[in-house]
């Protein structure tokens, strides 16, 4: 324990230097002196330029993706605060919608510009985390509004951005707006992985609904998670990330199933405010499994 704590900051500092500082300082060194008469050096100079521009682009997309992840997470947290019966729920949903729209306007547009005329699969790894989190947020919002699952074409059209590139001079309204369409391609695998994360949010929502006493919602949420799960088990090895996510999905599903079970057989015996404690007890020891061994307490 102790030696580990001492070691870690040092390692990290070193690693960081090599990644960032090292790269850029070396870049400056080499721009000056190369032997022009040596053909090998001349070609490597070109490789340097090519590699640097590729890495820079990659880095820029990674940065944007990180921002998108953070903002999407915030939108999801916000959505969790919208209670079903709460009159304020609508305004919260609207606020989250605004947040997501803001992400599109400020971040996705830049990503789309970077990806224009590129093979997106070359840079997919750079923006995949942000994309998955964003898909999770958008589909969660969509689910709360419509109680249905947002499809891939819908998702794709959400990420087809219309950018108004009209030059905003002081003379208004007369200028014909120049609107260009940018797309952030959504590969189906990424969509699936986003949906897998969505089930985690649905599970959280279900458990929260137990605590607020809106028990119907818990039962309503069971089927969506189940049907997503059932569809997912049919997919083969399509992505390296999928097995892990499928595992989490399964656990989420079992948690909700266990909650429904408990509510069904014992819901009437307990006052509403105690149900959460009851559920927590069930999940504390069983590791999410349906093994209820506290029957004796009754």
């Amino acid at each position: 324990m102790e030696w580990y704590q001492y070691l870690r900051p040092d390692c990290r500092r070193d690693g960081g230097k090599r990644w960032r500082g090292g790269g850029s300082s070396r870049k400056q060194d080499t721009t000056t002196e190369i032997d022009e008469s040596n053909p090998i050096m001349v070609s490597f100079k070109q490789f340097q330029i090519k590699l640097d521009s590729k890495h820079d682009k990659h880095e820029r997309i990674v940065k944007l993706s990180r921002d998108i992840t953070i903002e999407s997470k915030r939108a999801i947290f916000l959505l969790h605060r919208a209670n079903q019966d709460d009159p304020k729920a609508c305004s919260i949903i609207e606020e989250a919608e605004g947040k997501l729209h803001e992400i599109k306007k400020t971040k996705w547009v830049d990503v789309a510009k970077e990806l224009m005329h590129e093979d997106i699969y070359q840079f997919l790894r750079a923006y995949s985390p942000g994309l998955q989190e964003y898909i999770e947020a958008v589909t969660f919002l969509y689910f709360m509004k419509t109680k249905t699952l947002m499809s891939l074409p819908q998702m794709q059209s959400d990420l087809t951005l219309k950018v108004d590139e009209t030059e905003n001079s002081t003379e208004d309204s007369e200028i014909t707006p120049v609107i260009t369409e940018l797309t952030v391609p959504v590969p189906p695998v990424e969509y699936l992985l986003g949906i897998a994360d969505l089930t985690g949010e649905l599970m959280r929502m279900a458990i929260r609904c137990v605590s607020t006493g809106s028990l119907d919602v818990v039962f309503d949420l069971l089927n969506p998670i189940k049907s997503i799960h059932d569809s997912f088990v049919q997919f083969g090895p399509i992505s390296r990330e999928l097995p892990r996510k499928l595992n989490v999905l399964r656990q989420s599903l079992m948690k909700v199933e266990a909650a429904c079970y408990t509510l069904k057989i014992r819901g009437s015996e307990f006052p509403k405010h105690m149900l959460v404690n009851l559920l927590n007890e069930d999940h504390g020891g069983g590791g999410g499994g349906p093994g209820f061994d506290d029957e004796g307490i009754e």
Partner: protein, 233 residues
């Protein structure tokens, strides 16, 4: 619940997409398997230069290997035909390995022929592919560079065998070449990726060749000295 229907519709579409992708991958894999077999045969041909007989007549070997590159072109046409447009990197992993090996073989041939470094264009041309992504099926710059690094390892071994076969001048030339290659790679700002790891091995290859040159030099076996000034002999 409405989601049940929407989910089944949504996912059935994706499933057929996935199946289509699986089919493409299967087809690419089978072509790549044949290409890899062909690549191994080419490698076997090139390995003959390490034999004393082969060392004396490298041009016969390189001509033969060059001829075998013609068939490589056919394989790459087959692969590129199967690719959806602009999705090279979606399937890149399938042929990355063999492309690196082929680019090594091409670089080896060119080095034996002219003692120079193969250009990316020449390398691409030998395989019948492009150098730029915009132009179609191309060779990734990283794979070409990987080929050069593999060449460095092969040449360090080659220098040892050259000495054994009595060719004392070759290690000197190889050392010069690897030195240039090393300073070339030092120009690149490599990320912490596989290329970087492979590059870290270059210094050992260089060291090995330098040791061979040292052994040859102190025994005055090489006719050319390392210093470029004419020695009068």
């Amino acid at each position: 619940m409405a989601l049940n229907e929407s989910a089944t519709n949504v996912f059935s579409e994706i499933r057929s997409y996935m199946n289509a992708e699986q089919d493409i991958r299967e087809e690419i894999r089978s072509v790549v398997r044949d290409l890899e077999q062909h690549g191994r045969e080419m490698l076997a041909v090139m390995q003959m230069v390490h034999q004393p007989d082969g060392l004396k007549d490298t041009s016969a070997i390189t001509t033969k290997a060059r001829g075998m590159f013609e068939e490589v072109k056919k394989y790459f046409v087959l692969i590129s035909d199967k690719l959806p447009e602009n999705q090279y990197y979606r399937f890149h992993d399938h042929w990355r390995f063999i492309m690196q090996r082929l680019s090594f073989l091409a670089a080896f041939i060119v080095f034996l022929e002219s003692e120079s470094m193969i250009g990316c264009e020449d390398c691409a041309q030998m395989m019948g592919v492009k150098t730029k992504r915009e132009e179609g099926f191309h060779i990734d710059l990283d794979d070409y560079l990987m080929g050069l690094l593999q060449l460095a390892s092969e040449l360090s071994r080659f220098s040892v065998n050259a000495v054994t076969a009595g060719d004392y001048n070759r290690p000197v030339k190889i050392a010069k070449f690897l030195g240039d290659l090393d300073s070339g790679f030092r120009l690149l700002n490599l990320k912490n990726d596989s290329l970087r790891k492979r590059f870290d091995a270059l210094k050992y290859d260089l060291k090995k060749v330098e040791e061979v040159v040292y052994d040859v030099t102190i025994r005055k076996l090489a006719s050319t000295t390392i210093t470029p000034a004419p020695s009068g002999e």
